[in-house]
Symmetry: D2
Subunit: 366 residues, 4 copies
Amino acid sequence: METKIRSLRDDIDKLNLEILEKLSERAKIAEAIGELQTQTGSSHYDPVREAEMLDALTAANDGPFSDATVKSLFKQIFQASMQLEQEQDKKTYLTSRSKDRGDTIVEIRGTRIGTGESPVLIAGPCAIESKEQVDVTAAKVASRGVTLFRGGAFKPRTDPYSFQGLGEEGLKLGRAAADAHGLAFVAEIMDARDLPAFEQYADVLQVGARNMQNFTLLKAIGQSRKPVLLKRGLSATIQEWVMAAEYLLYEGNPNVILCERGIRTYEPTTRNTLDVSAVALAKQETHLPVVVDVTHSGGRRDLLVPLTKAALAIGADGIMMEVHPNPAVALSDQKQQVDFDSFDAYLEATGYDKKLTPDRHEVYGF
Amino acid sequence: METKIRSLRDDIDKLNLEILEKLSERAKIAEAIGELQTQTGSSHYDPVREAEMLDALTAANDGPFSDATVKSLFKQIFQASMQLEQEQDKKTYLTSRSKDRGDTIVEIRGTRIGTGESPVLIAGPCAIESKEQVDVTAAKVASRGVTLFRGGAFKPRTDPYSFQGLGEEGLKLGRAAADAHGLAFVAEIMDARDLPAFEQYADVLQVGARNMQNFTLLKAIGQSRKPVLLKRGLSATIQEWVMAAEYLLYEGNPNVILCERGIRTYEPTTRNTLDVSAVALAKQETHLPVVVDVTHSGGRRDLLVPLTKAALAIGADGIMMEVHPNPAVALSDQKQQVDFDSFDAYLEATGYDKKLTPDRHEVYGF
Amino acid sequence: METKIRSLRDDIDKLNLEILEKLSERAKIAEAIGELQTQTGSSHYDPVREAEMLDALTAANDGPFSDATVKSLFKQIFQASMQLEQEQDKKTYLTSRSKDRGDTIVEIRGTRIGTGESPVLIAGPCAIESKEQVDVTAAKVASRGVTLFRGGAFKPRTDPYSFQGLGEEGLKLGRAAADAHGLAFVAEIMDARDLPAFEQYADVLQVGARNMQNFTLLKAIGQSRKPVLLKRGLSATIQEWVMAAEYLLYEGNPNVILCERGIRTYEPTTRNTLDVSAVALAKQETHLPVVVDVTHSGGRRDLLVPLTKAALAIGADGIMMEVHPNPAVALSDQKQQVDFDSFDAYLEATGYDKKLTPDRHEVYGF
Amino acid sequence: METKIRSLRDDIDKLNLEILEKLSERAKIAEAIGELQTQTGSSHYDPVREAEMLDALTAANDGPFSDATVKSLFKQIFQASMQLEQEQDKKTYLTSRSKDRGDTIVEIRGTRIGTGESPVLIAGPCAIESKEQVDVTAAKVASRGVTLFRGGAFKPRTDPYSFQGLGEEGLKLGRAAADAHGLAFVAEIMDARDLPAFEQYADVLQVGARNMQNFTLLKAIGQSRKPVLLKRGLSATIQEWVMAAEYLLYEGNPNVILCERGIRTYEPTTRNTLDVSAVALAKQETHLPVVVDVTHSGGRRDLLVPLTKAALAIGADGIMMEVHPNPAVALSDQKQQVDFDSFDAYLEATGYDKKLTPDRHEVYGF
């Protein structure tokens, strides 16, 4: 019996190599076709042609594989050939990490994100509510060495009756406060038609989780050169998130920062579930910087410090968080923003107090 | 022991009524304040005032409740009072079902959705690909009594390199095919700036799952009077979905149809998980018609018939599905669209063949 | 150019057929090996042999496919061959629907589940709490034609300090009440060591969601011949659920009823999300009866009627629900059980009043 | 107007204090009742009594609150009172962190988990497959300073036809290998009836994710004094996981180690989603040590290092991972186990090489 099996296995081994030979030959021809198609600008994928080939194969099939199995196997072969044809294209998937391309470093008014060295901190109130509120917060974060100041002027709110932000007036207040304290200004954009105002007042265009697949918006701001902070959608896969970044790069904007902000799961204790694996995989598969929004990930003040530690340990290039002079009376996110004392405690507990240089803006001559 | 407990319980009973009396008295004063605030247009919710009251209470608290419990109890009391103040507002939540308001019936070129009688069927290809494709499909569905024809001209695609639809040209082809066969035309809008073209060519503005919380888009089409088909987001809660509809009604567009299309879960066998409870709850909590997209819910042809049966049984006002002359070569959704023979079989298996009246467009004089 | 592509495509067509020929030849030999292995009782899958074949192939590979692609393609080929070897085994996947096997009908004291005709109703309290409670409930449901009476004696509770059921005493009370009113008795088993008591007192062994992958329990009750009601796990895939049933059939118990009871998702409005697709797919892929627990699916009384309609429309063979003489004081599931008046209303609203025959137990001579 | 509002607010302030007084008085009486109930061993929660009180209140209610609001407010008050009654009980929730109780440190043959100092490493093959395999792996991990050796003898497998482990023979092989190399032995228990064998051969009883709510098993091993490694269920909430630990402590076993192993989400790129927040919250809410299974969390070798870094940064007391002499031919988890070279690389990349002391077993005199 053993001998018999061994002999049959030798036959299989021979056939394996013969099949490989045929497959390689087929692949070379497919490559040649692919090149011709690229020259004529026609698509590599031709479903009609594929259907015809499968029909011919199942017509010729006498078993023992079922027609379905034959179809499935040849679809794999077609796909492998097509991947071969697209490998150059793939190398040019603009977000993909590849040998000949280093990490993208996004520079924002002197702060560089994605260097692999000291992580950045983006801090500020959830929403810009008044001149005074935005000014004291900017002063506070600047005094601790923060260089990137966030503050929402247009707020995406589930309920139409909730505070929707101060709009363009908020942008101006944010810009003024940032300028007064030598900060760069990060604000969320929700409408392509607001792009001119953001070009004027903001330094970073934030795309919120709800707009991650607002392709219209992505295409518009892909044509800007302003750095973009692209949040992962509420329940977007990593692949969908990276493809959203691909839209931006494809339109010509290379300054993209990915932002993990927790995903929607069944767990009720936290507002979202921070997906640290996504940070590791985004760093591994793309060349873009990745930051983590620890405020929205957990939705709890008591998780800000531990989530920051985990995010930095897994390789995040920075952290985003919300600070407010008086969270209890904030117009949004009351439970999540920290006050100034807690912000000081946060910096100490996370080690950020040693990573940030409070006198930096003097160095850079602001 | 029993007697002792009984006596203590009598004390509790008396205190219960005394507390109720005080609470009611408090509530009446709160109502009076609420009315004054409504007159002055100021917000009912004043977090600073609330913080002061809580401080006063915890300062006065001698136990046995902890300060945290006192705060928590009084927050409940404040909230209940505020709800009272907002009850009128609440009655005017525009999407809410209420006694004095019947079911919304949306009329589209003679077809009425939400009557509680015969369910509608919205059918057509995923994407409009060519004049011929859209025309033969329109002819097919019209011949079976369908009156609502769907077809995408602008396609939201995860990958920027996928077929993105024919754009405005697609809208024109869809309009022409619909007109030629006496159909109303349903198409997805992704950009507020395209609204004029949709006003001209489409009968129903579809908002896709990825744009359900694109508030910019919602506000824009809320100002149109075209019927809107609002899909539930990939992982939107029922509350978020209804609030997205509230944006539309708030802006002035009463012609809103909700569309359940499955939610994202861990189950890998189906593309999404059809949430029939959401259909029942949306019908129960709102006055809007609800339809179910059975094509995207399951993402499988073999589930179209059973999901349709379940959706109609639970009270859906209609079904949306995708039909294509040759799904195998479709430019999108190859696995989900049905061909014409399967469409005939679908109508029979679901009983739709008896619900639709093939000669209707003659009746209506198209 | 066109001509050139056409000529290359002809070459591909020829190669396709040659590859198919080799693959078929290979598959026949693999089948022969498989038969020999089945005779010797050795496993079809031999990872060492597979690793050697892949090494030989990549050693021989000169491109253009990368070694990884060659490995991947041949793994597909190996898998297809192995599937072929296992096809008989697969036909003997005991849960799989196949031509030569009709629907399984489980008979419980005269009630037949899975006939495709009138759906059954399983009703009774969440937990058996007292002689009186179980008796009046049994009387009530029997008076309405219900033949299957549920009631928990051993309760799986998240919190160790919650009411854990009356244990064996509860089983006896349930049995007595069932006997008094001509009912079959369904009770949840949590421990293999309790099987003798269940053999004596229960007619159906319910496996709860939390125990769906308690393989020890599955193996034990697979050796019984009592009908088993196997609930889907809290977040089990359909495949995992069917494989849990396979454990039961494999051990020799053919009397398995699948029970969908909602899955855990992010949606907070319902306790679980009823997955109707799972009902359709379980009916399609297996020959087992499928019932739906509408009480736990929604966790809301106001969803019992609509969920029942959807479940029956999609092909469920029956419904399970909870009835209690006074839900407000029940020791568990207060929010979900219905009282007797609501039970009457439920029967009417769902049409069950016409499907059940109240005098049935006389007919059957109880 | 302002003056009017201010005057009404003064009335409210007075009423607030009066309500507080009544509530406190009520709470004191409730406490007294609670004490009496504790003496008689009767439950604090009496739903019938509660229903009667609510009836009395709604009967007395003249508005402006609706009866529903009155019920809801008083339920809050009842609950707060009951929490007060249970506060001692609560302090004695055995898993809860409290002032008077330090961190639990579990000691296993000289290795201490939960000290807050150097994290432990639990390593070994997924399944024990043969004497040689388990021996070389034990030798390998011991040579690198690992002191806790894992290896499954009873394997929970979705498919009944998959390799189910060597059973008791596996336990013996694991014990022998552990002894030969001075290691403690961690093995998964699936059946309460196997406890005597585990008492004899294993040092740590692992409860797998699928058995986290197998309350029968929890009760049984709660009566052992062997340390237990309790994995979080596939989609268990943090609360459910902690309550499962409560079962163990309640039964008398204080030696419980919690193990986060990723939760089931929609994300397809990783097998599970590691929930680092759960680690932080479990450490914060309980006094038990928490370790992280990085092998099952990601299900990918390329995530072992980054997930380990994140887990340790957020405060995990240790890591569990799978090592196999030849993962490609392993009988389970082929894609996730690492070979010996990769294990060395892992230790270096995570810094574990500096945390473990390879000569430790000499120190401890093994």
